[in-house]
Every structure is written in structure tokens, then in C-alpha cells.
């Protein structure tokens, strides 16, 4: 592996460029490099691992029990990549992916404050997942973070919440984090479980499959451990973070009763959804996945998107977890090599077959989890008007509801024009799903009918100076200087 620290060290062209160094990106890069392809693996984080294997090579948390055995599996992915000739660029932001004139692609990259355009024959987006927005009153107060954020602080810096800590929401990661933080010595004063009880009804049909899955043992163990050791409250139907300059307490309603719990940190989580900003801006088709309840890029069995030459591997193309992400990266890399003519279709199929079988096994039981931990509508479309939905532009649920119903706005793009939601630096990542949900509710239609933001490059900020320093074309000059 060749680690690139400066933008000038990048080559002009790579056979394949992979965005994101989580499990999918790491295994895609290793697999492609092992096939003899020239590979660029670009990642905006300072070290490989993505979120799940965050800081796998650098974590100061030496006690292996704290992060759990699954975390340490990530090391093998990095070791495998290290043995190859792939180029790995940490701290490198990919802000644009666009088709070029030659049938390949042009990537806009930024590293160390300098932008550069690099071409690649094939692209694999392995940009992973983000936590689903969890808009409750007061969620913008300092001291309120995502559960994933606390996990990142733990993995990469060995930091543990120091005061009274409340964890709220639903989903497997919530229990995992509760267990990890407890093991690291955090003072968890409450775990507030928002899993709607009726979800069991929908999930039950998928239970037989789940019982055969690798999730079972792991999931049950996590949940039981957490429940046994930690102060759990289930059936939570309303949450509000309280405080003026920082969170000082949380108001929680469960079983028709509301209580206030004093806290210094509130960690929120209600599942993860694909991070779609780059694929959306690149023009890849996406659809609303009704089971996972989120917008998802549309891919085929080889994880190829609607744009030939762009594949989307890992959780960025639908949530499947770390193990499946690595397998999906592997399969996508084989297909990319095939598209580049380095291996035949028959070779691709033969090489991929065992990985595909393993993938099917790893995804078993996923549907049960998706249905069981689907967030309650009240946490997807906040009922309290004052709840901030767009954190960047400070747009509230009430404004969005009023604009949808009174001004007849039926989609998020018009909403954005009227209220500025999604126009801030996060580019809709933290408000998009909620805006769609609120519009859907106002017009009594499904989120699928409402649509999603149309995103444009740069998907991550670059400076005007960086943009200005990129080479112009004659046609472009003509279009601007008139």
C-alpha cells in the first residue's frame, strides 16, 4: 500500500477509484489491486476503517473487551490492503464524480487544501452509512450527540462520557454502544428504548429466517447484557432534550407517564441509512426502500448503479452491516475488473460465487431487524412544531408542515427553495429524510411519492480558491466571459 499525503502524489489516472475506506472500500481496493489494477482509495478520515472499524490501526483502547471481538476483525482488512500496491489517500475529500469524455470518470478531489482532478476507468462508491436523523425538541443542544459519535470518540480517542449519560432510541447499534460504554466505565443513568411495541407484529413473519442467522446469537447477547445491567425503559413514545446552553435533562414519556431525567450527555440513535449524497450528485438512480425506510441507490447483483462504471458497495447501497459490506466490496471489485476487460465474465462469476454465497448468509435475518427496529413515526416526523428539522438553517417542523399544507409544496426541492432547509453546509444529510417524511404526512402519501433532494457537486465543501485553481476549458471560458 502506498499512502499519499499530498495531492501532487496522486497519479493522473487510475483503473479504479474507490471512495471510502470502510470495510467495503478496503476490501474492494485490496481485491482490485490483487487483480493487478491500479487503485486509488480516497478517504476523508485520517485513518482507515470507516465508522465501524474506526481507528482500527490507531485506537488507544487496548482492552479488547471494551470494543468487542467484532471490532477487531477490521484489522485483517487493513492488513490485506497493506500487502497490495494500492494507493491510499487519507484526509482526501472526493467532492465530485462525473463522466468524462473518454467513457471513464473524472473525480474532483481535495487534499491538504488543494483541489485536483483525477481520472478513473471505474468508480466504486463505498461511502457507507450515516445515522438516521433523530429530530426531537432540543436535539441541537450541546451535549446531545449521536450514539455513533460517542462510539467514534471511544474508538479513536479512548474518550468516555464523563457525567450522567442517557442513551435513547432503537436498533442493534444502540445496545452495542450501551454495552461498550458501560464496559469503558461510563455512568449510564438510563437507556430509553423507543422501539414501537407493534413492530413485533410486522417483524414476526421474518423471525424464522432470523433464527437461522448469524445475528441471532450476537444480537440476543447484546440485548440481554444491556437489559440486565442497565436501567432500561421501554415503550418510549416521546423525548425532549432540555437545557438552555447545553443539555441538562431529558423529558421522557413511556406508558403514558412523563418523567424528567437529569443528564450531562444524551446519545441518540435510531438506526443507520445509506449516505447517498455522492451517488445522488453523480446522478445515480435511487429509490425508497420500504423495508429499511430510507432512500437507497438502485444497484444490481454486482452493485452496479444506474450509471455504467459506477458501483456502490457496502452500506451506501442499503444497510447490511460490516461483514456484508466487505463482501459487497469484493464483488463490486470483481465486476469492475471484468468491465475493464482484465478478467472474463466467466472468471468474474467463478471468483465471486463463494463470496456471493457468504453474502447471502451474512444478510440472513436482516429483514427481521429492519422491521423490528423501524423507528416510530413520531420520531421520523416530529409532532412538536418547534422541533428543529434543518439544523444548519434552523428550520422547524412547524414551518415545514405549514409550507407543505398551506402553500401546497409537495416535494423537498420546492421546500428547500421556500424555507432553505437543506441549503446549509451539511447539504441535507441531517434534514432530508425528515423533510420528506413531514411532506408525506401532510399530503397523506408515501415518502417514495415525495421524492428526495436533488444534490449537486461539490458534495463536500471546497474553497472558491481551490475551485478557481482547477484547469478551465476553452468552451467554459466562452460560456462565462461574454
Amino acid at each position: 500500500m502506498n499512502t499519499l499525503r499530498e495531492i501532487g502524489q496522486l497519479a493522473e489516472h487510475y483503473d479504479i477509484a474507490i471512495v471510502g475506506a470502510g470495510p467495503a472500500g478496503l476490501s474492494a481496493a485490496a481485491s482490485a489491486a490483487e487483480l493487478g489494477l491500479s487503485v486509488l482509495l480516497a478517504d476523508e478520515n485520517p485513518a482507515p476503517g470507516g465508522q465501524i472499524y474506526r481507528a482500527i490501526t490507531t485506537t488507544p483502547v487496548a482492552d479488547k473487551c471494551v470494543l468487542g471481538e467484532d471490532y477487531w476483525k477490521g484489522g485483517a482488512l487493513v492488513t490485506r490492503l497493506e500487502r497490495t500496491a494500492a494507493a491510499y489517500a487519507p484526509g482526501c475529500t472526493v467532492w465530485s464524480v462525473a463522466p468524462d469524455e473518454t467513457g471513464g470518470f473524472e473525480l474532483g478531489l481535495s487534499l491538504g487544501g488543494q483541489a485536483r482532478l483525477v481520472s478513473a476507468g471505474q468508480i466504486i462508491l463505498a461511502t457507507g452509512a450515516q445515522e438516521r436523523p433523530f429530530p426531537i425538541p432540543g436535539w441541537t443542544l450541546p451535549g446531545v450527540m449521536t450514539a455513533g459519535a460517542a462510539q467514534i470518540a471511544l474508538k479513536s480517542s479512548g474518550l468516555v462520557p464523563s457525567g450522567r449519560t442517557v442513551i435513547a432510541g432503537c436498533g442493534p447499534l444502540l445496545y452495542l454502544l450501551a454495552g461498550q460504554l458501560a464496559a469503558a466505565g461510563a455512568n449510564i443513568v438510563a437507556v430509553l428504548d423507543t422501539t414501537p411495541r407493534r413492530n413485533w407484529l410486522f417483524a414476526l413473519a421474518s423471525l424464522p429466517d432470523f433464527l437461522l442467522s448469524p445475528y441471532l446469537a450476537k444480537g440476543l447477547k447484546l440485548m440481554l447484557q444491556a437489559r440486565r445491567k442497565l436501567p432500561f425503559r421501554t415503550g418510549v413514545t416521546a423525548l425532549a432534550a432540555e437545557g438552555t446552553d447545553k443539555v441538562t435533562s431529558i423529558s421522557v414519556t413511556h406508558g403514558g407517564r412523563t418523567e424528567t431525567i437529569a443528564c450531562d450527555a444524551l446519545l441518540l440513535h435510531q438506526g443507520v441509512i445509506p449516505g447517498i449524497n455522492l451517488s445522488n450528485a453523480a446522478g445515480c438512480a435511487q429509490h425508497f426502500d420500504a423495508v429499511q425506510h430510507c432512500w437507497t441507490p438502485t444497484v444490481d447483483d454486482w452493485f452496479a448503479s444506474s450509471i455504467p462504471g459506477i458501483a456502490i458497495a457496502g452500506d451506501g447501497a442499503g444497510i447490511g452491516g460490516a461483514e456484508s459490506a466487505a463482501l459487497r466490496g469484493e464483488i463490486a471489485a470483481l465486476d469492475a475488473a471484468c468491465r475493464l476487460g482484465r478478467i472474463s465474465e466467466a472468471q468474474r462469476n467463478a471468483k465471486a460465487a463463494p463470496t456471493q454465497a457468504e453474502l447471502a448468509r451474512s444478510l440472513r435475518g436482516r429483514r427481521f431487524l429492519d422491521l423490528l427496529y423501524r423507528p416510530a413515526e413520531t420520531f421520523l416526523a416530529p409532532p412538536v412544531d418547534e422541533t428543529i428539522v434543518c439544523r444548519c438553517e434552523e428550520v422547524t417542523a412547524g414551518q415545514i408542515r405549514d409550507t407543505a399544507s398551506r402553500l401546497g409544496v409537495t416535494g423537498p426541492n420546492q421546500m428547500k427553495a421556500f424555507l432553505r432547509c437543506g441549503m446549509g453546509p451539511c447539504q441535507g444529510r441531517l434534514c432530508g429524510p425528515t423533510v420528506v417524511e413531514l411532506i408525506a404526512q401532510a399530503h397523506k402519501v408515501s415518502p417514495a411519492e415525495v421524492g428526495y433532494y436533488r444534490l449537486r457537486p461539490p458534495v463536500k465543501p471546497i474553497t472558491l480558491g481551490e475551485l478557481a485553481a482547477l484547469p478551465p476549458t476553452e468552451a467554459a471560458v466562452k460560456a462565462v466571459v461574454r
Binding site: A417, G451, L464, L467, A468, L470
Partner: protein, 377 residues
Amino acid sequence: MTAQKSISEADIVVVGGGVVGGAIALGLARSGARVTILDEGDVAFRASRGNFALVWVQSKGLGMPEYAMWSRRSAEQWHQLSGVLSEEAGIDVAHSQPGGFMLCLSEAELEQRRQVMQRLHNQMSLADFPYEILDHGETKRRLPDIGPDVVGSVYSPLDGHVNSLKLFRALRDATQRRGVDYRPNCTVDTITPRDGGFLLRGAFGEIAAGKVVLAAGLGNARLAPMVGLDAPVKPSKGQIIVTEKTAPFLHNPMVTVRQTDEGGVMIGDSQEDRDFDTVVRQPILSVMAERAVRMFPRLAGLNVVRTWSALRVMSPDGFPIYDQSLSHPGAFLVTCHSGVTLAANHVLTLAPAILSGGLPDTLDAFSARRFHVPAHA
């Protein structure tokens, strides 16, 4: 989303719910008409969501002095419109008219602008349009942040800007409060003249109206012939960059750089004929960014938060088209690429005229008939 099939009537149907359609609908409703707006959905070619938000007069109207007069008149009425919107919708659209600059980055550019301004003012009736050609020193005195590459500028005190998204929302909000029936996701398939009125049909159902105003932007090209009108408009692609919010430092708008009331700096405006392609392209963005940074070097460190492209609605000569159908009176056509600048005219002058049955004489020159007769000597 599909609207339920329905059959209904209105005094006037405005086809198109953008800034142009919204302005006309507001003017009509203020004059007492029962108005319905038929609009497309969330994903549509919407110049109203993508424009640069100038209220601009300088350099407009070369080849058609009436357009210069019409633009100036609207700029002058904009204060009144701003008041109307504030009163009716409770929204301050951040209109200001501090005078605008066109900055030139080479002697050739400046010379070309000088000639354009000269030719413009040689046209009859425009002699009193105020403007100044400024050298680097004088430009720097008025805009201290300019870079050394700015050789000079054209300044006009008539120019200003507005928050066009707030304008868009204020128009929608004010029309809603005035009882205008706004119907999204109602693409009009056909318009049939009937019994001295019109029947508009689409997947939404049908609606009968005494009058119809076509304000559908690029969609006018398809709709106009159905009522004996002509709208030979084509898309002209423009791209825009906007930066993160920054403390106010640019008081005046430039034709290609302006700071919004919210703090973001907008940088435009490219022009390309690419049919209906709206993909944002990096080389154009880079040229725009490079010129903006040369104009104002302190912009270099600002982060770009968004870029977008939109399609201008361009007639063959670039000027607006205002028409009433000769064969089917009561059918009106409004199309322009300066819906923001002209919004004041559309609300305060054009709409009342449409309601009273005819366009004002000042708009004779804007008929699409100009594309069918040999030009005057």
C-alpha cells in the same frame, strides 16, 4: 403524486407557478379576480429556483429600447412591490437598490462594455439613463475589496437586488392569503378555446376559465399554439455557485457576484445552449470561481456550499414576449428571463391590464409578431 381528477372553473387560470406566474396571479387577485394557478410538481425546470436575484437595468435593451424602459420602470416600482409583499405575506424580501457594478478584468472587456453602453444610449429615449464608466482607481474607491486585476467597471445607480427565494415564497404566500387556488402536480396537456373562454385539461381533470395566462416558462412553447399564440423560447443554461455565510462585506451587487442578505456570496452567470441539460459542470464552475476570486481576492478562502444550474427562458432576441391572442382574445402569453426584475411590473401593471382585457400600448413592441415580420430599417 397525482391530483384527484376534478372539474372546476375560475375567472382566470394562470399556467405556471413560478415567479412570473405568481406575480401575475397576485396582481389579478389584488384586482379582485378568482384565480387558479396550475403548476408542475417538485421536479421541473424552474428558473425561479435557480436565478441570480438581480433587479437589473444597466445593459438591458440594446436593440429594443422599450425593454430598457420597461425594466427601469419595474426597478422603480420595486420598492412598492416590496411593501405590498411585506404587507400581504409578512415577508421582507430584502430588496435594495444601492446601485450595481459590472466589473471588467481586461481592457478589452471594459472597451466592449463601453461600446455596448454607448450604443444603448444612442437609442432614442434612453439618453437620460444614468451610468458611469469607472477606471480601476474609482472602482476601488467605491469597492475597496476589488483585486488588482479589475481594470474598471460600469456602474448604474438604477441596479439592485433582492432575495429571490423569499420573493418566490412571498408571492405564493400572498396569493394563498388572497384566495388564489394553487394546484401543484397539474401539468396542462391541452387548452381548448370554448364559448369565449378556455378549457384546460390534464391528468388532473379539467378546468374552465374565462381567461388564461400562459406563464409556464419553457412550457409556453408547447402551450401557446393551442390558443393562437407563439412562444419560440429555448433553454439557456446558467450555473451558479454559492459560498458559506459570511459577515456582510459586499454592499452592492455585481452582475456576476453578489452577497445575499443571509450572508452567502453568489457567483454566476454562465450561458450555454445545451438544450435541457442541467448537469453542473466543473470547468464552468472553475472559470466562474477564478474570475470571482480575481474580482474579490478575499473570496478565495470561502467554502463553496452549493452549486446549481438552471435554464433561462430565452426568446430568439432575448427580450420578453407579451401577447394577447388575436384569434382567441382572453388568452395571454408572458415569457421573460427577468422574472425578478420585472416582478413589480407584473404585479402592479400587467395583471390589472390583463384583467381589464388588454395589454397596455407600452407592450406593443413585445408581441411575438416581431419574429414574423421583416425588421424595420
